[in-house]
Symmetry: C2
Amino acid sequence: MSLPRHQSKTKFLDAALALVRMKGYAATTIDDVCQRAELTKGSFFHHFNGKEELAVQAAAHWSAVTGGLFALAPYVRLADPLDRVLGYVDFRKAIIQGEVPEFTCFVGTMAQEIHQTNPAIRQACDTSIREHAARVEADIALAMQQHDMKADFTAKSLALYTQAVLQGAFILAKAENGRETAKECIDHLRRYIEMLFRRR
Amino acid sequence: MSLPRHQSKTKFLDAALALVRMKGYAATTIDDVCQRAELTKGSFFHHFNGKEELAVQAAAHWSAVTGGLFALAPYVRLADPLDRVLGYVDFRKAIIQGEVPEFTCFVGTMAQEIHQTNPAIRQACDTSIREHAARVEADIALAMQQHDMKADFTAKSLALYTQAVLQGAFILAKAENGRETAKECIDHLRRYIEMLFRRR
DNA sequence: GACTCAATACCTACTGGTTGGTATGTGTTA
DNA sequence: TAACACATACCAACCAGTAGGTATTGAGTC
């Protein structure tokens, strides 16, 4: 009566994403993960050699899941690179919906907790964030080229800035337990990009 | 051989600030706090009725400590409100020094972890962040007034945006285990404010 | 197509260490 | 002498991880 191959592993990873986004890494127990995945500890330790490995693989899983989401978003098909950048920002604002754990970032949450105590997880989170930023960076670089912009900042630094704003917006959302401030932050981010590219 | 009144309590609170900034809230045990404060659990439970109360009071303690730091910063004595706003941003950049736990935000870290699980701590973190933002907001409001700015955003939302950028910059700093990206984020924040007020 | 056999996938039951919290003190101060 | 400020010793619950089992799958053999 077992499920198709490796589906269980995915269930553990999905459970980890949900639970860590709700309670954080340290407060999420392996038993929690097993219960949510509707599987047992024996199965868990068959797939992972411990909590750390779960976290590292969950970071990669997060990249895959969100990567798919952004790849399918309509803005990626816009012809103008600046439109894609602004479309990305708008999309990030649009997906701020539902309860706080539903729209906040798994790797940002985890990095916050383990940066000093677990280098392997920290590295996995950093990689996930930077891979995502690199895709934004590509469009920013094209937009800067197209607008012949002579700036005292790089496309990379602006791309990372967009991520910082989003991560910070999530923290304010968590603190207030709401979405409004976060959305207003993204409005400011959009305004900044518009001003940089003189679209305003 | 006991210390002057209530000094022990402060030692617990200081220990909590340091440890949570290093390891996060959940991973910080009461025993850790006692050890760092060089006091015993008996003393701890004399001053606090549990970990939650420690966290709530530590948030207030954090506001007091950082409040003192900013009150003494040189930028607050500048005559022009916009200079004070930009001076604040520069000051935030300047104090990004040393190891990551030394410059990151206690309440931001804690809010991230407990927002769904502990309303009392979440509220304390929100209050701490918003009190700090309110001081920035005051100068922003004056600057907007003085520059006769007709903006489609409020001073409050811009003030909260500055906090979001800072909190997000801290997350990137934690993920990369360094300071550079965070500082570049603050450069972007400064550029944004300069552009809003046409100082560039 | 039936018959091994080994690897895979999953389970139950347990353990040793940790953790938040308690019970019950003693010394010190006003 | 009562309140305060600490300390020691303990406990029950919890948690990461282990031991050792059973069921399922799939590839090779005849």
